[in-house]
């Protein structure tokens, strides 16, 4: 009982040997990249890389499973890089690359695993099988790991195509859709562990599966998985900050929409006995939107600063910018509705579900239907 009364120990004292090992590995990885690839980075990008090291370490200390994920992804990616040995043609020759961990193979495995995880979550929820749900969590983790390997290897492949072609794989719709799946899945996995509930996976994985469907269509019908060199406007270190921040926003908004759907279903008595209580769903929804709103705010500000440098004005009312503002206003409204006593509950859930459509339009519809300065992401 003393434990309850003792003040929580300072963070650094709570760290285990594994935490430190992880931090050392993250630092070693970052410094290795800096030593080997510094000729491809400008001073800002080096700064970003160095700042990433402590960010990763703290993130891993805070969310423990991330440590394992990071190490596995790092090790498999390095193995893939070794298999390439600087020669792109090895993609079609080396067994592991050809079938597993060349970027495209890994991303397709990610797609398959997300599909399987979705089915398993549904099976587990409907059949009330804890084992199936556990398996589904495992499948989701494997999908996440393979997706990250795919992106990492793709990053490397782009430099193999040509040193001037190489770039971080967040530059077109195909790449950011993969990123979207990964971020949404990871956020879900975090809450799943935190709230000790696996049932919501069935709902959340639906939106990820939809994104996977898009990736597959985009690959097989449009050949969008081909690595293209960057247009001049995108050749900037800002991209490394702006795009990921944006997708943390999009990912958490999508997550909250699926939670909203769960809330509405449960309130109508559908699956109610299988889903967590309304309070828990509501709380998760709020947390997801809070994170999303925070990062989306940062992303929009970063975007404005980048625009100021690339287009000559921090705000041009370009369709993509404007839709970012619309999404942002939408969730600002959501947050305030939550503060009004009589408006909470189903109203908020509906608002979050509708938010998914607003968000989807902002990151897909704008590119499909509207033209503007952001038109490099067009379908």
């Amino acid at each position: 009982m003393e434990l309850v009364l003792n003040p929580p120990a300072p963070l650094l004292k709570r760290l285990s040997w594994f935490d430190w090992l992880f931090a050392v590995i993250a630092a070693a990885g970052g410094l290795y990249a800096l030593a080997h690839y510094n000729e491809y980075m400008d001073v800002y990008e080096k700064g970003i890389l160095l700042a990433t090291i402590p960010a990763l370490a703290i993130f891993g200390w805070y969310w423990k499973p991330f440590r394992t994920l990071f190490i596995v992804v790092g090790a498999v990616s390095l193995f893939a890089l070794g298999q390439y040995d600087g020669n792109l043609a090895r993609m079609e020759e080396a067994f592991f690359l050809k079938y597993l961990i060349s970027s495209q193979a890994a991303i397709m495995w990610m797609c398959a695993l997300f599909g399987l995880a979705t089915l398993t979550y549904w099976g587990g929820m409907l059949g009330r099988s804890g084992f199936a749900l556990k398996t589904a969590t495992g499948l989701t983790w494997s999908a996440v790991a393979l997706g990250w390997v795919g992106l990492m290897v793709r990053w490397y492949e782009s430099y193999l195509i040509g040193p001037d072609v190489g770039h971080i794989p967040v530059s077109n719709l195909y790449e950011v859709f993969v990123l979207f799946c990964l971020i949404t899945a990871m956020m879900y996995l975090y809450y799943e562990a935190r709230y000790q509930t696996r049932q919501l996976g069935a709902l959340v994985l639906v939106v990820i599966s939809a994104a996977v469907g898009f990736i597959l269509w985009y690959t097989f019908d449009r050949g969008a998985h081909e690595i293209q060199p960057l247009v001049p406007a995108l050749k900037s270190w800002w991209m490394k900050l702006h795009v990921p921040a944006n997708f943390i926003g999009y990912g958490s908004f999508s997550l909250s929409a699926m939670l909203g759907a769960g809330y509405l279903l449960a309130r109508r008595g559908i699956l109610a006995s299988r889903l967590p209580s309304l309070d828990i769903i509501d709380d998760m929804m709020y947390k997801a939107i809070a994170i999303g709103f925070g990062f989306f705010t940062i992303a929009t500000i970063l975007g404005a600063m980048w625009a100021a440098e690339a287009w000559g004005g921090y705000w041009s009312w370009d369709p993509k910018e404007t839709w970012a503002l619309i999404v942002w206003l939408n969730y600002a409204a959501w947050l305030h509705i939550r503060l009004v006593k009589g408006l909470r509950g189903p109203m908020l859930a509906w608002w979050a579900v509708i938010g998914l459509f607003v968000t989807t339009f902002a990151f897909l519809g704008v590119n499909m239907f509207l033209s503007g300065l952001h038109s490099y992401g067009s379908l």
Binding site: N6, M108, K235, F293, L329, N330
Partner: protein
């Protein structure tokens, strides 16, 4: 009893109410959609064309062509700013007091009314329990105030006051950002325009002739304009697009473009745009030399200079013109400069030749799609390595408009170099009626010497009615055995050939087709068409003989190449009937001049906006992640009451309350 006071009070209530804020945020979001659906700041003619005169006018009055600067949109923003300001004004005193206060005046009765409370009995001294509890709460990050009360004491503790600070930061940040944005907007100009001091220029006149009423002085605090500078030239103004016209902004310096460069990837896509510029002050002294590139602007004198676009800066073109109305005439020379016009007289009337653009290279996809390979990778959608084997630079092209005296124009795009298609070489010329269409390409075959001469010569012979009898009779003699010469058959053949040639010269294959449709019964049309085509091809071959003879050249060879040349020529001659131009222009040489499109901005509000953004970010994170909580512990001999409150009741709050309850029970034991 509606006194002004109570009206003011209800307005205050309304403006600061949460429901009003929610409505404003939603309205603003919906209003913002308009400008993304309707393309903004297009030339007014486009809108007129799109909507018709009535709706054009209605939408113009609503300001829909520049929604984000329309008065009503600004009014919504203004409401937001006022609402937030009133809201801060209203909450400020309370929140500030709350941040400082420990709410030590809670009574036993109010504590008893808390939703989150827990009572515990204990036996040891109240002071000892209070000491331990205070130690515990401080360990949990609370600041604690200890107060004595009649029959015991009260611990009042609080944590996370910065949550309230977050509220101030985030909400005043919105006000700040709006003010910054306003500073960079065109409000000053709007006011001047309203008062009649300034006027938008809508005429297409040289910049130097724009009157002062449409010019802005160099001390204008904020502007965002653009200018195109050809290599070797300079500019001391930029143009601001406003509504259906523009304004001229005089700059405090002159900027000269030395060179503009485009770098390319190996695939042909552009990799970088760069301008080497020099900045001169108004006395003509060079004060700066720099290179501007995309994502790397130059900031001079508080004005940021960006690489925005590029264009042709007046390339000089050396052209050979082929007169398509008088096909026997020899070609004539034309000199032109991009962005300039030339007058042209032809037997078909007078034309203005407007040179629109020049491109030093064109990267085209010259091959068919790869068949999907049947390997393991194809299961995964194929390799991510793009197959760009088919992308080829097909050389320079130039674009021009040919405008007749009625003002009607067609636009042409001609490649300078021949292109290989299906194994044979052609000159390509594209034509379109309106800028929205894509070019339809006409191809003219080259002879073995790689020149258009043979095609033009053949075309001359075919279209010349005087040569027709001779062509027809040569054709007849070549087709018939010697024994049939002079027979009826020969006359019939001659007649047919003359007729086919005349029809073709009149309107190409279309004329022939129409003739067949009119004169031949449906059942026999295919056969007739084949026969006519055969006659036409053979006659054309004879025409080539005659044309070569008249040009004192050796007769054409009877080989495959000549056969294809004849067939291609016929196709091309037929296409020329719909080409719609009396001339074909063949580019011989060029002297390229590029122009760089620069954007210049002065935005004093930028730092305000950035500062506001910083506050906003901090504020938002404080509000979300600093949880405001308060704990009270009322201790009386033998009896303790724990109460807890927060402005946000989340599950984390419930968990923490449970932990405090547990702690109290432990201490009381």
């Amino acid at each position: 009893m509606t006194t002004p006071h109570s009206f003011g009070k209800s307005l205050f209530e309304l403006l600061s109410s949460m429901r009003f804020a929610i409505s404003l945020l939603s309205i603003l979001a919906i209003a913002s959609v308009i400008g993304t659906v309707l393309k903004q700041a297009e030339p007014y003619a486009n809108y007129l064309f799109q909507f018709g005169p009535f709706w054009f006018e209605a939408f113009r009055k609503l300001g829909l062509y520049d929604v984000y600067h329309a008065a009503w949109f600004l009014v919504i923003l203004l409401f937001l700013v006022v609402s937030i300001s009133v809201c801060i004004w209203r909450n400020a005193p309370g929140f500030a007091r709350e941040m400082k206060s420990f709410r030590e005046h809670v009574t036993d009765r109010s504590l008893a009314a808390f939703k989150h409370k827990h009572a515990a009995e204990f036996t040891h001294a109240p002071e000892a329990l209070a000491d331990q509890a205070q130690h515990y709460l401080e360990g949990q990050g609370y600041t604690v105030r200890r107060l004595t009360r009649d029959d015991g004491l009260l611990l009042a503790a609080k944590a996370g006051s910065w949550n309230r600070l977050g509220y101030f930061l985030a909400h005043s940040a919105i006000v700040l950002i709006c003010i910054g944005g306003l500073m960079d907007g065109n409000l000053i100009f709007k006011a001047q325009q309203l008062l009649g001091y300034k006027k938008i220029e809508t005429r297409d006149i040289p910049q130097s002739e724009v009157p002062p009423i449409s010019r802005l002085t160099p001390d204008n605090p904020s502007f965002r304009g653009s200018v195109q500078i050809p290599e070797g030239s300079s500019a001391d103004v930029v143009f601001l697009n406003v509504a259906d016209g523009y304004l001229v902004q005089d700059l405090p310096f002159t900027i000269a473009l030395k060179q503009f460069r485009i770098e390319h990837y190996s695939t042909g896509q552009p990799k970088n745009f760069e301008s080497d510029v020099e900045v001169f002050d108004h006395t003509g002294k060079k004060v700066r030399k720099a290179t501007i590139a995309v994502n790397h602007p130059l900031i001079h004198d508080g004005i940021a200079i960006y690489q925005a676009s590029f264009a042709d800066g007046g390339t000089r073109l050396d052209i050979r013109g082929w007169n398509l109305f008088a096909p026997t005439a020899s070609p004539f020379p034309v000199e032109g400069t991009v962005h300039q016009n030339t007058r042209l007289t032809s037997p078909a009337g007078d034309y203005t030749l407007e040179f629109v653009d020049f491109r030093p290279f064109n990267i085209e996809n010259m091959g068919e799609e790869d068949a999907p390979k049947n390997n393991a990778m194809s299961v995964f959608g194929g390799s991510p390595v793009a197959s760009d084997k088919h992308m080829r630079n097909v050389g320079p092209s130039f674009q021009y408009k040919l405008r007749d005296t009625r003002g009607q124009a067609r636009e042409f795009s001609n490649y300078m170099l021949p292109l290989e298609l299906d194994g044979r070489w052609y000159m390509l010329s594209g034509v379109r009626e309106t800028p929205n269409e894509s070019f339809r390409y006409m191809r003219m075959p080259l002879d073995p010497d790689g020149s258009l001469d043979t095609f033009m010569r053949l075309r001359g012979a075919l279209l010349n009615p005087e040569l027709r009898p001779e062509i027809a009779s040569r054709f007849a003699r070549e087709t018939l055995p010697k024994s049939a010469w002079g027979s009826d058959t020969e006359d019939k053949l001659k007649f047919s050939a003359s007729q086919v040639l005349a029809l073709f010269a009149d309107g190409g294959f279309t004329a022939l087709g129409r003739f067949i449709e009119e004169k031949v019964p449906a059942a026999e049309r295919d056969k007739a068409a084949a026969t006519y085509l055969r006659i036409l091809e053979l006659s054309t071959f004879e025409a080539l003989h005659i044309a070569n003879r008249d040009a004192k050249l050796p007769p054409p060879a009877s080989d495959d190449a000549t056969g294809w040349l004849v067939r291609d020529s016929l196709n091309s001659i037929s296409d020329l009937f719909v080409y719609g131009s009396p001339i074909y222009l063949q580019l011989l040489q060029f002297d390229e001049v590029k122009a760089s499109g620069l954007q210049l901005t002065r935005s004093p509000g930028k730092s305000v906006v950035y500062f506001g953004s910083l506050l906003l970010t901090l504020g938002v994170f404080f509000m979300f992640y600093v949880r405001e909580r308060r704990v009270w512990l009322r201790v009386r001999p033998g009896h303790a009451l724990l109460a807890m409150s927060s402005n946000k009741h989340t599950i984390d709050f419930e968990k923490e309350f449970a932990q405090h309850v547990h702690a109290l029970d432990t201490l009381a034991r």
